[in-house]
Symmetry: C2
Subunit: 109 residues, 2 copies
Amino acid sequence: MGATKTDFFTSEQNELAMLTKAMGHPARIAILQHLIKVKACVCGDIVDELPLAQPTVSQHLKELKNAGLIKGTIEGNAICYCIDTDTWNRYKNILENLFGSYKSESNCC
Amino acid sequence: MGATKTDFFTSEQNELAMLTKAMGHPARIAILQHLIKVKACVCGDIVDELPLAQPTVSQHLKELKNAGLIKGTIEGNAICYCIDTDTWNRYKNILENLFGSYKSESNCC
DNA sequence: ATTCTTTATCGTAATATTGCAATATTAAAA
DNA sequence: TTTTAATATTGCAATATTACGATAAAGAAT
C-alpha cells in the first residue's frame, strides 16, 4: 500500500486532487504568489526568494509545471517561469464551482 | 530531511498550503462533494460511497476535520459529518483572493 | 448483561514527499 | 575553446502519506 487509488475516482475528482496537491506546500504557494506579484516572468531569482536550496526549488517548480499551473520558456541559458493562463483559469473555475456548490443554509449541524 | 520547512513561510502561505494539502486526495474531494450533495449530514455511509476500507475513510475524515473543512457531531453511536460553514467560507475567500489576484494581461509568456 | 453497530485508533507495510550535496547540462561570455 | 552562469537531474537520507487488518471504545438494542 501507500499509493493513492486513483482508478476508483472520477477524473474530475482526480484532477481537483492533483491541482490542490500541487498547491499543498508553502514553497509552491510562495512561488505562485511571487509569479503573480512580479508581473513580468521571473527566472531563477525565485531561488533567492525562497529559504530553500536550488535543487529543492527546481523540484517544486517541476511539480507546479506538471500540474499545469506554471510554464517555463527558455531564454538564453535562463528559464522564464510564469503562470499558465489557460490552466490557471480552468482551475479557477473548477475551484469556484466546488466552493460555490455549497450553500450554508442546507446544513443540519 | 523530509519535513516541510513551515517556519520560513508566512502564516498565510502555510494556511493556504494546509488547506490545499488537505484537499489533495481524490477520496477527500469525494467526501467533500458528497457532503455538499446530500444536503443533510451523513454519518458513516460515507464509507459505503468510497472504494476504501473504513479505517482509511476515518483517517481521511480526520484530516479534513483537522483542516477545519468539516466537523462532526455525535449522534447516538453514530457521528454526523458536514461542511464547516465558517472555515469553508473563509477558505473560499482565501482561494478566490489568490486566483483573482492574477490578471492574464500582465503576463509576458 | 450481552450483543450489535458504528466509529476511532494502533500497528505496520508500501509508497511518496521533502530537502540537499554532488553532478550534469546548456548556453552565454571571455 | 575555456570559463562562467543558470537550471536540471541524480542519489540519498529523513520523514510523511496511504491503506488496511486487528482491535478498542461507546452507545443502542436485545
